[in-house]
Symmetry: C2
Subunit: 376 residues, 2 copies
């Protein structure tokens, strides 16, 4: 195995695959990255058993690698990435100088790394024999950004640590909830996929996918799903992940459709007011703030015996329906507002203890639901 490769190109490939490498390694072999070099290309594989990422030198970049001898090896992820980051020069050379010694060198630097065992590296079987469908990158990025934050951080109900991914007819619906708040985004597909789907994708998978999508220029994802796995393929990467087993709760009945109070407000004004109000409550009062909703105006309030109190007037608020006082977790409201890419929002409520929803005329396919908190 002997080849030279453009350093920044290799670094880009390494940055993709390392997203699948866990800092707490369960199997030592999975602390490594598998390098497969053929006559005119290189493929890197990283995996943490839950999720695997495979990335390959793009067809257009064949000139970035010069291969003298093809081969396969597994190099320690952490060190090879740091070395390629820090080594000088545009080109870096690799040569297997002994069964398990890889030399990585430029004119002035020469690293000799102990390799890991290629035989021990698990085979990653991609589920490409399944039926697939395609989505635009921009749509996938939005779907993730607008839902994944609402997944549960607690392992007590593993199902809620994932995002529910449903295809019904031409509708793709992603839902996340930690049982205190819920985020749901619907997308109308261009063509109807062959079959209905109802899967639970781990939040971690979607977060890493989102980071990679930010880094690459490919515009289309092909998505394959099986009973237990999901595979995302673009021109430059394959990311395959286990699904979370189980039945996601039916959330359709949770989202109310009729309301007693409706507020229209400016998203940014509300977001900054809640952020400020939570200044006094986030350390000692569980981040609880109150909204005082009257026909002639809306105020966000927070009171802390120890520190003091705050009142924020929402000047853009237009209220119709019943007056209402309601308490809620400021972080949930801030997360929801930050995920919405609109200027004007609508908050629709049904009394102080019923879930309220944040939505917008400018994006009717996104719903954020928050459960209020009983404070008396």
């Amino acid at each position: 195995m002997k080849f030279s490769i453009n350093r920044s190109m290799l670094l880009q490939l390494l940055n993709h695959v390392t997203k699948s490498i866990s800092s707490r390694v369960i199997t030592p072999i999975l602390s490594g990255i598998k390098f497969e070099v053929t006559a005119d290309s290189i493929t890197l594989t990283g995996s943490n058993t839950e999720m695997s990422i495979i990335t390959k030198l793009n067809e257009n970049n064949k000139d970035k690698i010069q291969v003298e001898q093809s081969g396969t090896c597994v190099l320690p992820s952490k060190y090879i990435t740091e070395i390629i980051k820090k080594i000088d020069g545009d080109t870096v050379s690799f040569e297997l100088i002994d069964t398990n010694l890889m030399q990585v060198y430029t004119t002035s630097s020469e690293f000799t790394l102990n390799t890991l065992s290629v035989e021990e590296y698990p085979n990653i079987f991609l589920i490409t024999e399944e039926k697939s469908f395609q989505l635009q990158k921009q749509i996938v990025q939005n779907l993730i950004k607008q839902t994944v934050f609402a997944t549960s951080q607690s392992e007590s109900r593993p199902i809620l640590t994932g995002v529910n991914f449903v295809i019904q007819g031409k509708d793709l619906i992603m839902t996340a909830t930690d049982s205190y708040r819920l985020a749901q985004k619907k997308v109308l597909l261009d063509v109807e996929p062959v079959m209905s789907k109802n899967l639970i994708i781990p939040a971690k998978t979607l977060q890493e996918l989102s980071k990679i999508l930010d880094e690459i220029e490919d515009n289309v994802l092909t998505i394959y799903t099986s009973q237990s796995k999901i595979l995302f393929i673009t021109e430059s990467i394959c990311l395959q992940s286990n699904l979370i087993e189980g039945n996601y709760p039916d959330t359709s009945k949770l989202i109310p459709t009729e309301f007693n109070t409706v507020i229209e407000a400016d998203l940014n004004e509300l977001l900054h007011a809640i952020d400020r109000a939570s200044l006094l409550s986030r350390d000692i009062h569980n981040n609880i703030v109150n909204a005082d909703i009257k026909t002639d105006g809306m105020e966000i309030k927070s009171i802390s015996q120890e520190i003091g109190q705050v009142r924020e007037k929402i000047q853009s608020a237009q209220i119709s329906g019943d007056e209402l006082k309601i308490s809620f977790n400021a972080r949930y409201a801030l997360d929801a507002l930050k995920a919405m890419e609109v200027n004007k929002i609508t908050i629709s409520l049904n009394g102080e203890l019923k879930p309220f929803i944040i939505h917008s005329k400018d994006d009717e396919n996104l719903i954020q639901l928050i459960l209020p908190i009983r404070t008396y």
Copy 2:
């Protein structure tokens, strides 16, 4: 007490004083910032018993404050800073609405904060009756940056957690050592100060001073010293700190003046080579790297049984004198090299176990000394 003030101006003042407020507060009152408002100015004070910072609205900025009623109060540092950071608008108003209730408000936001007791706030006596001398900001910033990193992090010898500040005739000499490495910078003063000085300034004081100097535009510092304190005054801030008691070790004899081996090299090349060599040793080998110095060239090496090895050729190195192998802590060498603002450096050595120094023809007043490590 009632006044309005330009928000960004107040934020700037708050950013200065909060540098003296400790996150682990020993006396509750010192979690507060003292606000003193007169007819046309405002003075803020923060303190952590070790160090106090006083900052005042600059003479040129009198129009940034409108005072209706002067007065004094102490506000919780953490909350008032966050509020001023996050509140909307160019101007923010303050009004003491009850003995210990301060209202902080704009058109839409209204915070009511519990104040702390003005009576409990300690009096800070500035040592301005002592003799003083002046230094240019640029010189002070360099002195700090080039020495303070070499102070000890361990409290076992408190003296070494400070920087030794010596004035002898027209020489100002700052020295820091943790007993494994030493950094010393000399500056020739324009005028001879009235008396000799030999003080130990806490590293923390110099680090916070350095941050403030980066933020302000004032060009000159007036420095007062007493037996137990040092005071730095610029147009916009006063920073007074306790000194560390005790006698700083005489380091003059530690620094060798004759050498058996002398290396001239490019600073950046050496810095990056040592940085890369330490990649393989920093996790498990205490950051030890080796230099192999031969008449015809110099290499930096590091070997790790577990990971592999690295050899870095220093192509710019010009060696005269004895050949030599030496081991040292890469972090010490990197800290020293990063503090030097030159392109070419000289390393002067006396065998594998004697301290070596890094210096430069382009800044003869800076010496970095490092103790090698015995590796056999």
